[in-house]
């Protein structure tokens, strides 16, 4: 969309105005995330820039909120729970989701759209409704306030992402490839690992990452299905924001931003790899 050489003045004004507007929108998107980073090094317990910070006075900055995060048992318990719950729910979601996606991608699959619609619905149903239903049902069967209960709940919510990403890698998959492998003497196991796995692996990993983030970022369901013993990082942040706002939350937020940068990079690399394998040009 470069500016053509013969552009009129009006077009020129529009061109720059348009780019300025876009710049502002991008700023709106990214500024809130950037702003928490310096605030987390605040020396005073407020959510705002102090004079000392603006003049780059070292006394205005401190690491004490990070120290607070790393030494506080409440936060450390939350970190531990977050990882336990996210890892196990991701494993369950990825295993079940991948297998289901393989089935859904077969041309012989009956009622494909309907089944897909049902399997994806945990992503669409409002969290509070899932939370209410799970709270009632898991209470009845004794899974409320247990790690297992929260893991199962999060796994259910993560599966749609795995199904979607893995199915996407199989779009346009030539099923004659598996037949070719079979004819060339490969048994089904070998076919699976040599032909299918390399193809779907990027989708599986990015689906797993989505499932991980879904669990890692989830706070509504865990607050109802779980109890204090299952409190996660977002839970601790949520009650911190409602109770007493301390910049420790911003320190945690900064660490989470770093985590999301890592996740984003991984998913992007995988997507490109997947496109390359399937021969789709950018």
């Amino acid at each position: 969309m470069a500016l053509p050489l013969h552009a009129t003045t009006g077009e020129k004004i529009w061109y720059y105005a348009f780019r300025t507007i876009c710049g502002l929108i991008f700023f709106f998107l990214i500024a809130p995330i950037i702003v928490v980073i310096p605030l987390s090094f605040n020396a005073v317990p407020f959510f705002t820039f102090t004079e000392a910070m603006l003049t780059f006075d070292p006394a205005g900055y401190s690491l004490k909120w990070y120290q607070d995060f790393f030494t506080d048992l409440n936060w450390q318990g939350a970190v531990k729970n977050s990882f336990i719950i996210a890892v196990f729910s991701t494993l369950i979601a990825t295993a079940l989701g991948t297998v289901a996606a393989l089935g859904l991608s077969r041309p012989e699959m009956p009622a494909r759209t309907m089944i897909m619609g049902i399997l994806i619905s945990p992503m669409i149903v409002p969290l509070i409704i899932a939370a209410a239903g799970m709270f009632f049902f898991y209470s009845d069967i004794g899974l409320a306030s247990t790690h297992i209960g929260v893991i199962l709940a999060h796994a259910a919510m993560g599966t749609p992402f795995v199904v979607i990403t893995v199915t996407a890698t199989l779009v346009g998959f030539d099923h004659s490839l598996t037949r070719a492998a079979a004819m060339l003497g490969a048994n089904p196991t070998r076919t699976f690992f040599k032909v299918i796995v390399p193809l779907i692996l990027p989708g599986v990993i990015s689906g797993a990452l989505f499932a991980f983030v879904t669990s890692f970022d989830e706070v509504v369901v865990v607050r109802f299905v779980g109890s204090y013993q299952q409190r996660t990082i977002p839970w601790a942040m949520f009650s911190g924001l409602r109770e007493q706002i301390s910049p420790t939350i911003l320190a945690v937020a900064t660490l989470l931003v770093i985590l999301s940068v890592l996740m984003l990079t991984t998913v992007e690399l995988l997507r490109r790899r997947s496109d390359r394998i399937r021969g789709i040009d950018q």
Binding site: T71, G142, S145, S227
Partner: protein
């Protein structure tokens, strides 16, 4: 950085230990977290664990939705809590629903040092057969000394926008606000609840609240008013007296108390119906609610001990070294006009009036 790293390692190790070694000797005690749990840790848990090395007390900060979680436990008959700290109204509700045990107070609680039986020592604070009182707290007002035009002296001043302009914060529910509105409107204290039982009385209370509605910030958590006062977002606001104490005395903010028509409420222990190791729980409760322990808690937080016999033992704050007596809601200076939470009335009317209150808020 090195020490930070080391501390992290230790903290992680400790936290792994805490979560990882749940055994029969753990007591999971549910409370409200923050400074309140800390006061219980200092006054009750630490000394108890010191004399009972085989017991480990685990604090669970689920106080805010304890009744909901207890219901869930009851439905599954799967109980993971040993003891719960509850406000009296929640205890009455849970007792109604059969979620917690009725107790024989004289049989399970220590007598006062002079031999007065527990039921007499606690007196009429035992508001439910399931409830073991612990502290008396009050919901009252704090104001910014530097931001108000004139210092408020009575509840009527809360509703007086001319005398004291500016935003005020009130709790986002019907309880207390309706009573205060009627009192400020000149209703005699002994008629407040009779009046609130009628549609006209409720309408009168809302009409009074209407006069300040657009100047109110509604809070949901006890920490919000102190924060709003400290930030200068409001010039005055209601909250629990202990929260105001810490923002005034510990954080040295320019805030003062306005005790007129403070509402007394109670907080205490309840034992979940299916709590495991009930013998151990009862042993702990007997210790934690004796005369000395209740007086000790007042060293860490400005809530009044529920036993009459504890009052003379209340001394100085553990770290600030100031006399706690004058900061107690029960101090005669502060308690000239007080309202006691009407448990019976609110047990019947809480759903209806909260619903109406929310409808009123949304108009």
């Amino acid at each position: 950085m090195k020490t930070l790293f080391k501390k992290t390692l230790i903290a992680t190790a400790v936290s792994v230990g805490v979560v990882g070694t749940a055994s029969a000797k753990d007591l999971v005690i549910v409370s409200w977290g923050g400074a309140y749990t800390a006061s219980q840790q200092n006054a009750y848990h630490e000394p108890y664990m010191a004399s009972n090395p085989d017991i480990k007390i685990i604090n669970d900060d689920s106080g805010n939705d304890a009744v909901a979680k207890l219901r869930a436990m009851a439905e599954a008959d799967n109980w993971s809590w040993h003891l719960v700290d509850m406000v009296a109204s929640d205890a009455i509700l849970s007792c109604d629903e059969g979620l917690i045990d009725e107790v024989d107070h004289d049989a399970i609680l220590a007598a006062a040092p002079d031999g007065t039986p527990a039921t007499e020592d606690f007196g009429n604070l035992i508001v439910s057969p399931c409830f073991i009182p612990q502290i008396v707290y009050s919901t009252t007002f704090g104001y910014r000394t530097d931001l108000v035009k004139a210092a408020p002296t009575s509840i009527a001043d809360v509703f007086d926008l001319e005398k004291i302009p500016g935003k005020r914060s009130l709790e986002k529910k019907a309880i207390n606000n309706l009573e205060w509105a009627l009192l400020a409107d000149g209703v005699a204290p002994d008629q407040v609840y009779d009046l609130l039982g009628t549609d006209e009385g409720v309408a009168q209370a809302f009409a009074k609240l209407d006069t300040i509605k657009d100047q109110v910030i509604w809070w949901e958590k006890g920490a919000q008013t102190p924060q709003l006062l400290a930030d200068g977002e409001v010039v005055m606001g209601s909250t629990y007296n202990g929260r105001l104490f810490s923002v005034i005395e510990e954080e040295k903010q320019p805030i003062a108390m306005m005790w007129d028509w403070q509402v007394f409420d109670l907080d205490g222990w309840v034992i979940p119906k299916g709590a495991p190791d009930k013998d151990e729980v009862l042993k702990y409760v007997k210790f934690a609610t004796d005369t000395q322990r209740l007086a000790d808690q007042a060293k860490f937080i400005s809530y009044g001990p529920a036993r009459a016999s504890s009052a003379p033992l209340v001394g100085k704050h553990a770290t600030l070294g100031i006399e706690m007596g004058p900061h107690m809601p029960t101090n005669p200076e502060n308690a000239r006009n007080t309202l006691v939470y009407n448990y019976e009335f609110w047990a019947d009317n809480v759903d209806d009036l909260n619903e109406r209150f929310t409808a009123w808020l949304n108009q």
